[in-house]
Subunit: 117 residues, 2 copies
C-alpha cells in the first residue's frame, strides 16, 4: 500500500513537468528512439535524458538499448493507475454530491408537506 502510494506519487510528480507530458504525448504514437524523441525539444541532450530518467523511474515509460540506439516506450498501465485514482476521487465526491442533492430535495418536500398541512 505504501509502495503503491509512492508509485502514484512518482507518476504525478513525473507528469508535473511540460516536457515530460510532451514526451508521454509523443510516445502515445508509438515507441521512439531517444534521438527522435529529443529532436523537437530546445534543450541539451543531458537535460532531456534527465526527464526520460524521471519518467522511467516512475514507471511511466521503459527503455531498452539495442546496439547504440536506446528506444523508449510508454507503459500505459502506470498511467491508468493515476487515472483510476482520479476517477476514484471523483466517485467519492459525486456520491457526496448525490447525497447532498437527496437531502436538499427531502427538505424541500418536507417544506411543501408543512405548507399543505
Amino acid at each position: 500500500m505504501a509502495n503503491q502510494s509512492a508509485q502514484l506519487g512518482g507518476v504525478f510528480y513525473a507528469l508535473g513537468d511540460p516536457t515530460r507530458r510532451a514526451i508521454v504525448g509523443a510516445l502515445g504514437r508509438g515507441p521512439a528512439s531517444v534521438s527522435t524523441l529529443a529532436a523537437p525539444f530546445p534543450m541539451a541532450l543531458p537535460s532531456f535524458m534527465k526527464h526520460l530518467s524521471v519518467l522511467e523511474q516512475s514507471g511511466v515509460i521503459r527503455s531498452r538499448k539495442v546496439g547504440r540506439v536506446r528506444t523508449c516506450e510508454l507503459r500505459p498501465k502506470t498511467l491508468s493507475r493515476a487515472e483510476q485514482w482520479l476517477a476514484q476521487q471523483r466517485s467519492i465526491w459525486e456520491a457526496r454530491a448525490d447525497r447532498m442533492s437527496a437531502f436538499v430535495e427531502r427538505l424541500h418536500q418536507e417544506d411543501i408537506a408543512r405548507g399543505n398541512r
Copy 2:
C-alpha cells in the same frame, strides 16, 4: 494553451505528494476546517499549511475564512481536467494499439490467402 498546460502541471505536481493526496481524499467527503483537516497528520501546522497552499495555488482546492475559521473545499473540475488529460493519452495509445492489431490481423489473413493459393 500555455496557461492550461501550466495549470495541468501544477495539478500533477500538487498530487505528487502523499499528504496532499490524503487531503484531497478527506475533502472528497465534504468541506472541512483547516484544524479538522490537519488533525490526523503528524506534522507541524505551518508545514501542513504549505501543503494546503500548494493545493490551493494549483486550483485543486479553495478556502475561505469566516471569523477565525478557514474552511477548505475540493474543486472537482480541476481534478477532472487532469483525469481528462490522462484519458486522452490513453485514447491515443489505444487507437494506436487498435491499428497495430488490425495490421497484424491483415498480415495473418494475407499469410492464409498465400497458403491457399
